[in-house]
Symmetry: C2
Subunit: 333 residues, 2 copies
């Protein structure tokens, strides 16, 4: 296992310490527990707070999207593990500006359990919460069961839209509706080329033989829908984009935002080779890409691979994407 | 070889095509050759142009730093290969706003040859050029031979300072002097954990046995100064930072900017574990980190590893770092 770490059991606490040392102007730990981070000016009075969270190992997800015009706070679990309900509750209190708090995170069992428990605790303290789950992984469930899908990189679009709505002063109901609409109009598919090694375990999370790829893989290495010989970038882009376009029912004249995301070890050059083909596919379908994002937005430690996310746009969602945002890892001006 | 590519021989042209499709508002190819990119508003009349260039495979280096407040244009070679002198010359003409052109690139034989030839061609067309080489790799030569050192990630600081100076209207002499001062006050050291595979070659550029690391490695896998058992992140940070601090003669009261750069496959989390230790080292030495950058700024395709760069600051250099800049890959507001 070749990792630049110290004690594997201290890995999460140490990289959080690094983040706090690097970005004291943008992020703070509101209490003694560094696993809870909030934007430096939290709570913002009269504004809806947005709390996200989940396991570590996905930077810039989740903590990277805490900032103005994005999420307000995050509860951070161990690598690939949920934060505790108490941590989510602490984050909730720290971002509560009196207008309620939206829980916006990926659909994983442990996270759902702990965020739901935190919602109960918040209710006892008269903090209203609502929950929207990221469920964008087209490969994980058929369309009829969209609400059971895993949440992967496409949650970025929900953060961006909901965060912009909260920043401009929308109510909790409105922010939640915007987040849900973003999720409903987002589809993602990923490809994995190599497994991830968890620092504490020290061995690969799964096996993927030489020369093979896995289409539809999850960001924790969850099984996809096709494993076979590695194909060309264009073939891969076709395999990933086709089901998403179909799932979203995209037709000529539609407008979208596209995110080509690296899972960790894949060079940025290869992401642009993928984007090139996605742009061709969209043009051929008469679909206009109004906004694009190419880079690492949701990773799986050092997994080699990529994902493609598509958000179907309307005027409001495009305006929300274009609204200012500022975090240590993402900025829109 | 697991790469998301099509024909290896088309790799560079295809990712450039992807970049142009993704960022038509910021970059353009001024002629028929996509290997030459310039900022969308080039040439800017009355402003010094800055041309960089070098081999591909290092994104966001070099083409990522073409934009306002950064470089004006880039000539792009094949993977790890210099662009041609004609391409550098074409970039020169495309960014020439009448105030001269600075060549600012890393110190590699092929690049020096071709940029020098381009300077001769430019002179024949009455375009004044000056050259400043990135020579920040402390591991590559002793301090007495600093001008012979390789250029690695620390050239980012020179881009940022020189680009800000050009943007505000400094003369060619002034911009060159600022770039040279940035280079003179920058030191970098890298660590490699795994080799890179060139798309066209399909095999690793070098061997690095299980459990070993190479300290002082170059961004093309050039040999470092120590190969041995993989150490802890803190030990690695000590090995990289110590020689840089010594090289720059840093003492209590000094101010610096720090760049912790990932070489490709190393997770962002690990870079923050490194930054944590660098911040401790600086604090212990009484050195203030005024500005930090943590992420992938100069990569070597999918090499696992990292580098640490330090720029000694004065008031002017700090102001230049803080000046606005905007490219598809880097933004300062």
């Amino acid at each position: 296992m070749k990792k630049i770490i110290n004690d594997p059991d201290r890995f999460v606490d140490e990289f959080i310490e690094g983040i706090l040392l690097a970005h004291p102007d943008k992020l703070k730990a509101p209490g003694d527990d560094n696993r809870i981070l909030v934007r430096a000016d939290a709570p913002v009075a009269g504004r809806v707070g947005i709390v996200t969270g989940g396991g570590s190992g996905h930077l810039p997800l989740f903590k990277g999207y805490v900032g103005t015009g994005l999420c307000s706070g995050v509860a951070i679990g161990n690598v690939f593990s949920s934060p505790s309900s108490e941590q989510v509750f602490e984050a909730t209190k720290a971002v509560n500006g009196g207008a309620g708090v939206l829980y916006l995170y990926g659909n994983y069992g442990g996270d759902v359990l702990n965020f739901d428990l935190a919602a109960d605790m918040a209710e006892l303290e008269d903090i209203e919460t609502k929950t929207v789950l990221g469920t964008d992984d087209v490969a994980s469930q058929p369309k009829e069961r969209k609400s059971d899908r895993r949440g992967v990189a496409g949650i970025f679009f929900a953060y961006k839209c909901a965060g912009a709505a909260a920043e401009r002063g929308d109510s909790l109901d409105e922010v939640a509706a915007i987040a849900q609409a973003a999720v409903d109009n987002t589809g993602t598919m990923g490809i994995g080329l190599s497994p991830t090694i968890l620092p504490a375990a020290g061995k690969p999370t799964f096996e993927l033989p030489d020369g093979e790829m896995e289409i539809g893989i999850g960001i924790h290495g969850e099984p996809g829908i096709h494993r076979g010989a590695l194909e060309s970038a264009d073939e891969i882009a076709d395999r990933l984009t086709g089901p998403i376009f179909e799932d979203l029912g995209l037709a000529s004249g539609d407008r979208v935002a596209v995110l080509v995301n690296g899972l960790g070890a894949t060079p940025l050059e290869e992401l642009y080779v993928l984007y090139r083909r996605v742009a061709q596919i969209a043009a051929d379908a008469g679909v206009t890409i109004e906004k694009n994002y190419v880079g690492e937005y949701a990773t799986s430690l050092e997994m080699a691979g990529a994902s493609i996310s598509v958000l179907k746009l309307d005027d409001e969602r495009l305006a929300l994407l274009n609204a200012p945002a500022d975090s240590p890892f993402f900025r829109e001006v």
